[in-house]
């Protein structure tokens, strides 16, 4: 965990209300696990809480990392106005449990399911898997054609097979990621998912199988991001205890917590 003023190398719109920001700084050397996230301070003193944003890619040679964020409110709107050369106060990497991209072996059937702005951490995971020679099937779900991003980026990874679903059918296949999941002939060995809660709940219901190692990344409103404030708790699967999403997650095994 480091707190540092990173430099914006690039900040551009890549889909409807969706922006990609590349940041540089020594903190990059500490970013290793897909699924972990950054706590980004938004320019302006009146916003006291940082914004949790997943790491979408790391380029160690270039000394940069990339985040992709959707304009949801004031914080992400202000981030979208940052220009190359600006400084952004970043704290991270946060989260102790990410997607275990180091575990699948080449030849394993690995499935990635991403919905909307849940896609970025999965792109990081897919890159790590591709680097290790593991091929992946990817199902991406978006509301509509204008919201799609990173389809090509995934396709460019070696061994990556991509299927895009849109709710309104304006691009790719009409339907949800669950429709695509259910069409698969056999359960995968590994399943990594990130997206809205409802989608994750359905992924767990339809994707849970004894041979599948399933993982989901969760979101919750955060205060501290490091486990001290108890804002981001969720119950464990047996409902006997709890986990903090910011510290114990944000990625959990299927059934580890109540989604």
């Amino acid at each position: 965990m480091k707190n540092e003023r990173m430099i914006v190398e690039q900040n551009k719109s890549i889909a409807a209300k969706t922006h990609e920001m590349t940041l540089s700084g020594p903190l990059v050397a500490h970013l290793a696990q897909p699924g972990t996230f950054l706590h980004v301070a938004v320019p302006g003193d009146d916003l006291v809480l940082r914004r949790p944003i997943s790491i979408a890619a790391v380029d160690r040679d270039a000394g940069t990392c990339t985040i992709v964020y959707k304009e949801e409110g004031e914080g992400t709107k202000r981030l979208s106005r940052c220009r190359a050369g600006d400084g952004v106060d970043v704290f991270g990497p946060l989260g102790k449990q990410g997607f275990p991209a180091e575990q699948p072996s080449p030849g394993d059937d690995v499935l990635i399911i991403g919905g909307g702005v849940g896609v970025p951490p999965l792109y990081f995971a897919a890159r790590e898997l591709a680097k290790r020679g593991v091929s992946v099937s990817v199902i991406l779900g978006f509301q509509t054609a204008a919201a799609i991003f990173y389809e090509r980026a995934f396709r460019e990874l070696s061994g990556c097979e991509v299927r895009v679903m849109t709710n309104d059918g304006s691009n790719g296949h009409a339907g949800t990621v669950i429709d695509a999941l259910n069409e698969r002939p056999s359960p995968p060995d590994w399943l990594f998912a990130c997206g809205p809660r409802g989608m994750l709940r359905a992924v767990e219901t339809h994707g849970a199988h004894s041979k599948t190692n399933g993982y989901v990344s969760l979101e919750e409103r955060m205060g501290c991001g490091i486990g001290v404030c108890f804002a981001c708790v969720c119950e464990t699967g047996d409902r006997a205890s709890y986990r903090k999403i910011c510290r114990d997650g944000p990625v959990f095994r299927f059934k580890e917590v109540v989604i």
Partner: protein, 307 residues
């Protein structure tokens, strides 16, 4: 870090290297921040509000942002007094820093039980009675708004405590000095203030409250003027030690609190925006003393600068 002797503050139960401590609920039990800096640098550590039994707290979302502040409705999630005694306090014993143990409860018996359980812990320097948590339905706020109840609770706790007792006052009252005087008469060794102000946010798109608990406690820079006013008012009527808090983010803010009449301060919400805020403020304080021509932190009191 070098310890500047001018920053030293001695309060009942708390011998502090400097007047800075993290506020209860914003630092858990120290483990996480110990990964970021040496906790021995702090003047004291205020731990998470502790109840008799473990509490799971309120449904999520538990926090919401507000202009220059935030609302929280955590609902006193904590592992319970015995677990704090057995598992959390021993960890903090590894650091050279006294603990201000924040105590919460629904009944006077529960407060007494928590204090009995923690009072012999070697690193607990003093207790801070949270009689002002706005986030638990049957919670402490009830004790914090009625002078008589606040006084009898203070008396009950004093009867079993071997450590000094600070009473943490609620800002959600019309006359905070009345409560301060009542708990002073009941034997309180010090006061701490302010706790959060009850507030609410509503999602304009849905018309529904943003917090699952509907209401929450407002903290952060937005509450600083209220905190300063209350500390100032109480300083006019009592000489009891005061730990001031509410929106502190910088050494300059700390100086404002000392001028208002605080003897030491706690930093809460600012830890979330800047995880290194406490050590940063500690480093910056000596330059403020130089600039103001103050010999020590104690001089704010001794030189009678209180307005």
């Amino acid at each position: 870090m070098e310890v500047d002797p001018r920053l030293k503050v001695t309060l009942p139960g708390l011998t502090m290297k400097n007047p800075i401590m993290p506020a209860s609920g914003c630092f858990a039990f120290g483990r996480e921040y110990a990964e970021l800096f040496d906790l021995s640098e702090l003047g004291a550590v205020g731990i998470k509000g502790t109840t008799g039994d473990a509490r799971f707290g309120n449904p999520t979302p538990r926090v919401a942002e507000t202009p220059s502040g935030m609302l929280n409705a955590i609902g006193l999630q904590n592992p319970g007094a015995q677990a704090v005694r057995d598992e959390e306090l021993p960890f903090l014993e590894g650091y050279d820093v006294p603990v201000l143990a924040n105590v919460s409860g629904s009944t006077p018996e529960e407060y007494v039980h928590v204090v009995e359980t923690l009072t012999d812990a070697p690193n607990v320097g003093a207790f801070e009675l949270n009689i002002s948590c706005p986030n638990v339905k049957e919670g402490g706020i009830h004790f914090g708004t009625a002078p008589g109840e606040a006084a009898s609770l203070t008396e009950a706790v004093k009867a079993v405590s071997t450590k000094p007792v600070y009473v943490k006052l609620s800002p959600n009252v019309t006359d905070v000095t009345a409560i301060a005087l009542a708990v002073e008469a009941a034997g309180a060794d010090g006061l701490s203030l302010i706790n959060t102000l009850v507030g609410m946010r509503i999602d304009a798109k849905t018309g529904k409250p943003v917090l699952a608990n509907e209401k929450g406690g407002l903290s952060g820079p937005a509450v600083k003027p209220v905190a300063l006013r209350m500390i100032h008012d109480i300083r006019q009527v009592t000489g009891l030690p005061i730990i001031g808090m509410g929106g502190i983010q910088s050494a300059e803010d700390v100086v404002e609190f000392l001028f208002a009449g605080a003897d030491a301060v706690a930093v809460g919400t600012a830890n979330f925006s800047n995880p290194f805020v406490c050590p940063t403020i500690i480093r910056e304080l000596p330059a403020w003393l130089d600039q103001l021509g103050m010999e020590s932190i104690g001089a704010f009191r001794e030189q009678g600068v209180n307005i």
